[in-house]
Symmetry: C2
Subunit: 103 residues, 2 copies
């Protein structure tokens, strides 16, 4: 399993609209083969900052299957205009989890 | 529930030692009242970079209960010398989760 982590900065004042659009976009990413789950987390310290965490079966499910899908075009159309700066996307593999059954 | 997210950069060459120390340190944080779970995630793109995700019942469980505990002194002693730069610590609250039962 791979964790995609994305730091998002949304244009000031558009946070509520962004969250609503994100809810609308959820079925697009959830339909992708290899998608497992995701969560959008709102930063307490920095207004307009979000951490998006997506769990994928493997790296290619994100970088190939999702990014080359028609769903990704829709996803970008719904969401990308909210970003104040280009999202910083990174992938991670699990080192340690506690309790081990969490993931 | 609050998510603590920390970007960590470990001194080059000390990654394996850091991960072993982190496993040793796990019971220290897991003993704190209000601690729920954590995961240490290893970056695929940047060597020595980690994302630490800790779930707390509320903000104070991290910022007060943990940080003022004797366990935190031990935690720092075990881990802080591995960091190449000061960890960037932020807190988040859930906006959207899919499937909703994930968290």
């Amino acid at each position: 399993m791979i964790l995609e982590a994305v730091m998002l900065k949304v244009v000031a004042g558009q946070e509520l609209e962004f969250e609503a659009a994100f809810a609308t976009a959820t079925p697009l990413i959830a339909a992708i083969d290899g998608y497992l789950s995701h969560e959008l987390q709102r930063c307490l310290e920095v207004s307009g900052k979000y951490l998006l965490l997506v769990r994928w079966r493997n790296l290619e499910a994100h970088t190939v299957t999702f990014r080359q899908s028609p769903e990704f075009l829709e996803w970008k159309k719904l969401l990308h205009h909210f970003y104040a700066s280009p999202p910083m996307i990174e992938h991670f593999e699990l080192s340690i989890a506690n309790p081990p059954s969490t993931l």
